[in-house]
């Protein structure tokens, strides 16, 4: 089926070419980082994780969100998702690919990555994250490729793929739970040490991921002859709305616990993020941007009449995606490190090379996504689909 990605319009090849150029530039920057060290980034002794790990965390959520299509379609027989469930699965493949790459570019000694396998350490959450992410990647490639292949031939997918699909449901929940455990089990980082972290992660994932999927579906409709259909998009819109409300509610719980208990260590990172702390406030403006976009998106989504207008829906989804991207892909990580372990402040802001490498990884993700969607769309355009 992959050969379908080799036939495309001029626009398609221009897009692929542009991505490759971005990837090339970022790769050169990565080589620089490889030789100079992570000192090239804005990371420091006090803020030892930043943009890379933030992007990783955010994208695990995007990957997990495929389950929001799989559950209704396969468990509740919600037929309308039949045509686009493949888009969710392939989005997951692309997102997990980016996750792996973000971990890789964040490592001080990337050539030793296999040490994680050579010296397996079950007490380390990172070890489990490695396992669940790899497993999830394989699951989605196998499921997506097999079901699409069957669709192309106009037959039912083979029986053996069914158990894998059911397995992928708890597996999707596991990848984001385990990723939340990376943070939620660390003593001394007040901002992260919260039992609701995994729930918050899942809520934001089930909002942000499907929001992206709506945007992608609208793009697919616009750019190709394949129409994912208005109804599944609206159904996704509902999922996004509920999930985002849950996410904002969970965030509110964090605020309550921190400020009503009045425990300084719990309040400090939130103060740093939203109001500035002891004169330091590099993140205040973007955190408020995130909050405003969240409110805007919810306002647009909560009224069905507004939501039904696809243009408004698109605006709401873009706002929400950006809002969550700032909150989870950046603020969440930095907030864990500021104030530091001595209640001192070291601020963090990504450098230019760090940003270019980050954009490069996204470009690789988009390249993978484009190729996979090209194949899926080509099959759909040929009319290949079997209920």
């Amino acid at each position: 089926m992959l050969e379908k990605a080799l036939i495309g319009s001029k626009r398609y090849w221009l897009w692929i070419g542009a991505l490759l150029v971005v990837i090339g530039i970022a790769f050169i920057q990565y080589l620089h980082q490889f030789s100079y060290g992570l000192g090239i980034t804005g990371l420091s002794r006090d803020v030892s994780w930043g943009l890379y790990i933030g992007q990783f965390t955010f994208l695990v959520g995007v990957a997990a969100s495929a389950v929001m299509l799989v559950i209704p379609y396969y468990l509740h027989d919600f037929k309308k998702f039949g045509k686009i469930v493949i888009l969710g699965e392939f989005l997951a493949v692309s997102a997990v690919t980016m996750c792996v790459l973000f971990i890789f570019v964040d490592m001080g000694q990337p050539m030793r990555i296999m040490n994680v396998v050579l010296h397996p350490t079950p007490n380390s959450i990172m070890f489990w994250d490695f396992i669940v992410l790899t497993g999830y990647l394989v699951l989605n490639i196998v499921i997506g490729w097999t079901t699409l292949g069957a669709d192309r031939k106009g037959v039912h997918p083979p029986q053996w793929v069914k158990p894998l699909i059911y397995l992928s449901v708890p597996w999707a929940v596991s990848i984001h739970t385990v990723t939340a455990f990376l943070y939620a089990g660390i003593p001394g980082r007040h901002f992260w040490l919260t039992a609701i972290m995994a729930a918050r992660f899942l809520a934001s994932a089930f909002a942000g991921g499907p929001a992206l999927l709506i945007i992608l579906s609208l793009l697919v409709r616009k750019l190709t002859k394949f129409d994912p259909g208005a109804e599944p998009i609206q159904a996704l819109g509902k999922i996004v709305t509920y999930a985002m409300f849950a996410n904002v509610f969970f965030l509110g719980l964090e605020f309550f616990t921190a400020f009503y208990s009045n425990i300084p260590g719990h309040m400090a990172p939130i103060e740093y993020l939203y109001t500035g702390f002891e004169g330091h406030g590099k993140l205040v403006s973007i955190m408020w941007t995130s909050s405003i976009l969240a409110v805007l998106s919810l306002t647009l989504l909560v009224f069905p009449a507004l939501r039904r207008n696809e243009n408004i829906l698109a605006v709401a989804c873009v706002s929400m995606f950006v809002s969550l991207w700032i909150d989870k892909g950046f603020g969440l990580i930095v907030g864990g490190f500021v104030p530091n372990m001595f209640e001192g402040i070291t601020e963090y802001w990504p450098t230019v090379p760090e940003t270019i490498i980050t954009i490069g990884v996204w470009a690789i993700g988009f390249l993978v996504l484009t190729v996979l969607y090209k194949v899926a769309v080509a099959v759909r355009e040929e009319g290949g689909y079997h209920d």
């Binding site: 000192g39 002794r45 030892s48 040490n115 350490t121 990376l182 300084p264 001595f342």
Partner: protein, 275 residues
């Protein structure tokens, strides 16, 4: 087959300090015909090694009078361990350092009214070698691990540089090599001022920390900071009730950093009691 007593004595006599091992040991042993026999190769501990069940420290900063006294402890460690000085706080690597009372004990100092002497006296900090270390729990490769004598070790050969341990350590005891420690700054000054040829450096992209002078304990020497501290840093086995460190803890009021986190730090700071 173990090393016989005579060989051990010769070994101990010939190689005095760290590193004089090598050829001198070799010559001492092969000088005699009796040593040449077939043995199954094996590893063993140096007879001079100091051993214990759980190493710990009692630190009485009141005995560090001047800035120089502090600096002596810090240099003693950083010089022999080739700890680089990158010249900026962002990339800083430190195994042992000093900081204020408020930074050392952030969770117990939410008070503006406090003992002036305490408030102004710098404390000396290094890895707590916790009994329940969070860093060890999170490491995905066992590059950091707990030895049976309580040392929280860092195997820089195995470290992949993921920095999970830095996120996990509640005491900020860990540093990452953001740059090549063998490199030079813009003015051509090497980051490691003067190399100790008997100890390795680290390489780019690995995490490092205080290793409780495991290389010195192995040949019967005390930790460098304790040796240079003029009695302010007392080292010993916390599980031995007769050890010097236990005596200091028994006789004084001591506190530990962030005990509420349950990591069980092995550094006890003397706050009050007999001088």
């Amino acid at each position: 087959m173990s090393i016989n007593r005579r060989q051990f004595l010769r070994l101990a006599g010939v190689s005095t300090v760290l590193g004089v091992g090598g050829a001198s040991v070799l010559s001492a042993l092969t000088g005699k015909g009796e040593a040449v026999s077939q043995t199954t190769p094996h590893f063993t501990t140096d007879p001079r090694a100091i051993t214990g069940k759980r190493w710990g420290f009692a630190i009485d900063v009141r005995k560090l009078k001047t800035d120089e006294d502090y600096q002596k402890c810090i240099s003693a460690c950083h010089d022999i361990h080739n700890v680089p000085d990158f010249g900026n706080p962002k990339d800083a690597v430190k195994w042992i350092w000093k900081d204020t009372y408020e930074h050392t004990f952030p969770t117990v100092t939410e008070d503006e009214i406090m003992n002036k002497e305490l408030k102004e006296k710098p404390f000396i900090l290094f890895c707590n070698h916790c009994a329940q270390p969070a860093c060890v729990r999170v490491c995905p490769t066992k590059a950091t691990y707990k030895r049976k004598d309580g040392i929280v070790m860092q195997d820089m050969h195995r470290c992949i540089g993921c920095r999970f341990c830095m996120a996990a350590c509640p005491f900020g005891a860990r540093s990452f090599n953001y740059r090549d420690p063998r490199g030079k700054d813009a003015n051509g000054r090497p980051f490691i001022r003067k190399e100790n040829k008997e100890f390795p450096t680290r390489m780019i992209g690995v995490v490092e920390k205080c290793t409780l002078c495991y290389e010195r304990l192995a040949v019967g020497l005390l930790p460098a900071c304790a040796e240079a501290s003029n009695g302010a840093i007392v080292f010993g086995d916390l599980e031995d009730p007769n050890s010097e460190v236990r005596k200091v803890i028994d006789a004084n009021y001591t506190i530990r950093r962030k005990p509420e986190l349950g990591t069980q730090p092995s550094l006890y700071y003397v706050i009050g009691g007999r001088e």
